[in-house]
Amino acid sequence: MPLVFAQLDIPYVIKRISGKDAVRTHLRNLGLVESETVIVRQSIAGNLIVEIKGVRLALDEGLGRRIMV
């Protein structure tokens, strides 16, 4: 399911990040890669704060929909 539907504070494993554009590369450079564990720490109307590799990243809803867990 897309990361936007994930429950708070529960670890999920990233299965796939869809799209193949520069944004995806940037997400990967920031540590969002397949088979990595991700935790959603906060969600405001679809915009997310996630924890990945010990870092907190803020993502908008559009990006959250592209990350499948």
Binding site: D9, P11, G19, K20, D21, A22, V23, T25, H26, L27, R28, N29, L30, G31, V33, E34, E36, I39, R41, Q42, S43, I44, A45, G46, N47, I49, E51, K53, G54, V55, R56, L57, A58, L59, D60, E61, G62, L63
Partner: protein, 724 residues
């Protein structure tokens, strides 16, 4: 012999602090050639042979943001002697991702492991050094620890030739070597080979391969993609994370309870809470503004400005200048130039410095402790609705203090069109210097109603929103704002040094303009105001209704006729608007002079309220206020626009747009508002105003230019055609 050291690292890794610690005050700040990314360099405190060049904070050497492009161009083409890579020990996995790429440039690398005091003995620097094949020095940039050792190692490393890299798995490594052999002679063939395999557009352009070589390369790419069932860019990323995982396994003891909530998370649960986020933000900003600009016993900014206006520039300096003029027996005209022109003009601007500095201190604290990044996150959702991203919010917020640093703050926005739109709208926000204009009319015409000031903010914000929606429909701005992805640094106590440093940097740009632009324009204004033609002779004028300024004002005031600036007040309002270009606080000062008020005018001009009230009605007051709040900002802000746009066409377009938008809004308000209130009779301009209003509504609601799906970037298109 000079050793050039490039300082590279992730944003929020303590890079700025380390740079300041190493170089002290010997810094030169400029821009990287051709772009508005800041370039800083400086020599080391006790060793002037070591030249440190601060690269922008980056996550990788792929060309996603302008910062990354600038950094890699510098590293690949300028070839520094040493790369000093600062690595945040609390966040080592992500930080090492950049390190793996720096190792491929064949330049000696040294790793400064920052914040080791926080992770204590979880990381073994010796093992890390063995794994990376580079010296690793533990430092604490904040506490100034390990710096001497770092300098010793830098000198040692600088004599080294080249740099050992971390190999990929066999298949990938074979392809990299293969491509390396196809390349012409280069200084860092491995880096180029990897970029070629990743289909990096910029490198492809630079290399300009022949058809045959292109074929061989795409053959290699296809080969790899078939084996791994993934595109080469992703698989190389995966290779890097695999390398890092191996290093971490050997050199880092995994801490227990990795997924527990940290203090930072707990704070975030509250301040970014769906319901509480906005009230908390408003409360914080309310406190900041009360202290910086309010009129309560804790408003130190206002007190400072009061003192500067009433005592420093009200008594001390004019007094000292008076006695100096007297002692030197200067010509009275020269005396008037110095006193009424320079001291009064420059003083009016410098008087704002205390308020501005207090505001900047608070904004720097909010930035340094990590809250600003959260604010951008909270606002993103809202801003996306009218075509801007959350990152545009910080420039607008800073602009409530002063537009100049506000416009400068737009630098952090990655996407070009988002940045341009932010620059164009930042000037609409009522800055500190526009407050007196609001104060004057609120007092003179609206019985000091606080609704007037509120309405000024509403007008400013509405202008931003309307502009955002309208511009988004044009081809140049069409398309979604860049996806919002931003690292949220861990909350920490702000460092006094960093806060003071950035406050000073912003404050200084404000002070500097007082010494240059405002000085010059004060002299011009004084001249125009003091001289004129009386009975056909050019002379010093007593009554400023005869001054050159009045003649010019009268000559051009017809422009503002449709805005309701008619009769006696027309030229005064026109002149005040023009002087407002120098600095917005000049508007009220000019009214003071033009209404022949003798002596010092209070900030909101209480003394001339009765005269202003006689000349302006409620509708003309709003027409004047709206025009002055929204039209071209002061010269200093225009200078900032020019610098940030870095393009004369866009600079003119932005300033022209602001003036045009202000004119149209003021006209609609005067003509239609006046008609409704029975103050203005139906005339040809009423029709024009209605047409303009209709046009604006059309621009807001039309369908607009539809860009082709952006999910497919140009890079993707090339990729597809090459495959098919």
């Amino acid at each position: 012999m000079e050793i050039k050291i490039a300082l590279a690292g992730n944003p929020n890794s303590g890079k700025t602090t380390l740079f300041n610690t190493l170089t002290g005050s010997r810094q030169r700040v400029g821009n990287w050639p051709g772009v508005t990314v800041e370039k800083k360099e400086g020599t080391v405190k006790n060793d002037h042979d070591l030249l440190i060049q601060d690269l922008p904070g980056i996550y990788s050497l792929s060309p996603y943001s302008l910062e990354e492009v600038v950094s890699r161009t510098y590293l690949v083409h300028e070839r520094p002697d040493v790369i000093l890579n600062i690595v945040d020990a609390t966040n080592i996995e992500r930080n090492l991702y950049l390190t793996t790429q720096l190792l491929e440039l064949d330049i000696p690398v040294i790793v400064a492991l920052n914040m080791m005091d926080v992770v204590e003995d979880q990381i073994d620097p010796k093992k890390l050094s063995e794994q990376l094949h580079v010296p690793v020095v533990e430092i604490s940039a904040l506490k100034n620890k390990g710096i001497d050792e770092l300098l010793v190692q830098i000198k040692k490393v600088s004599t080294k030739k080249g740099q050992q890299f971390l190999p990929f798995t066999e298949d990938v490594e074979a392809s990299v070597s293969f491509v390396e052999k196809l390349l012409p002679h280069l200084e860092c063939p491995r880096w180029y080979a990897i970029k070629v395999l990743e289909r990096d557009e910029r490198v492809d352009e630079e290399m300009n391969f022949s058809h045959d070589i292109k074929k061989e390369i795409s053959c290699q790419i296809d080969h790899l993609e078939e084996i791994y069932d993934d595109d080469t860019e992703s698989l190389i990323t995966n290779e890097r994370y695999a390398q890092i995982a191996q290093i971490i396994a050997k050199a880092v003891k995994k801490s227990k309870g990795k997924h527990a909530l940290t203090l930072s998370d707990k704070i975030d649960k509250v301040v970014t809470n769906r319901i509480l986020a906005l009230p908390i933000f408003i409360l914080i900003m309310y406190c900041v503004y009360t202290i910086a600009m309010g009129s309560t016993p804790i408003s130190i900014g206002t007190m400072g400005t009061g003192w500067a206006n009433d005592v420093l520039f009200g008594e001390w300096i004019p007094g000292a200048v008076d006695s100096m003029i007297g002692a030197l027996h200067l010509n009275p005209i020269l005396g008037s130039l110095i006193q009424d022109g320079i001291v009064a003009g420059v003083g009016a601007t410098l008087g704002f410095v205390p308020q501005i500095l207090v505001l900047f201190i608070f904004l720097s604290i909010l930035e340094d402790c990590g809250y600003m990044a959260r604010v951008a996150f909270i606002m993103d959702r809202l801003f996306r609705k009218f075509g801007l991203s959350g990152k545009s919010f910080i420039p607008l917020l800073v602009a409530t203090g002063c537009g100049v640093p506000g416009i400068m703050a737009s630098r952090t926005i990655e996407q070009d069109r988002d940045r341009k739109m932010t620059i164009m709208t930042t000037g609409f926000i009522p800055c500190g210097a526009k407050m007196p204009i609001i104060g004057l009319f609120a007092g003179a015409i609206f019985g000091n109603s606080s609704l007037v000031a509120t309405s000024a903010f509403v007008i400013g914000i509405a202008a931003v929103i309307i502009t955002g929606i309208m511009l988004k429909k044009f081809k140049a701005f069409a398309g979604e704002p860049a996806p919002f992805v931003m690292e949220l640094p861990v909350y920490h106590m702000p460092s006094i040094h960093n806060v003071l440093h950035s406050t000073w940097e912003r404050g200084w740009s404000f002070i500097k303009r007082a010494g240059t632009l405002i000085l010059l324009s004060s002299i011009v204004l004084w001249f125009l105001q003091s001289f004129g033609f009386v009975n056909g002779a050019f002379t010093l004028v007593e009554d400023n209704n005869h001054s050159l300024l009045a003649s010019i004002g009268n000559a051009v005031s017809w422009i503002f006729y449709p805005l309701g600036w008619v009769g006696d007040m027309a030229w005064k309002a026109t002149v005040a608007t023009f002087t407002g270009l120098i600095a917005k606080e000049e508007v009220v000062n000019t009214f003071g002079v033009l209404y022949n008020h003798a002596g010092e005018l209070s900030e909101a001009g209480d003394e001339i309220w009765a005269l202003v009230a006689a000349d302006f009605s409620a509708v003309t007051a709003y027409s004047f206020m709206i025009f002055n709040l929204l039209c071209a900002p002061c010269f200093a802000a225009m200078g900032a626009i020019k610098r940030e746009m870095n393009n004369p066409k866009w600079t003119l377009l932005s300033i022209g747009y602001m003036c045009g938008f202000a004119y149209v809004c003021a006209m609609i308000v005067y003509q239609i508002g006046g008609l409704l209130l029975g103050e203005v009779s139906f005339n040809v301009f009423t029709i024009i105003a209605i047409v303009l209003l209709a046009g604006m509504i059309y621009l807001l609601f039309r369908k607009g230019y539809q860009p082709e799906s952006e999910a497919i970037s140009t890079r993707e298109l090339k990729f597809r055609t090459s495959k098919s």
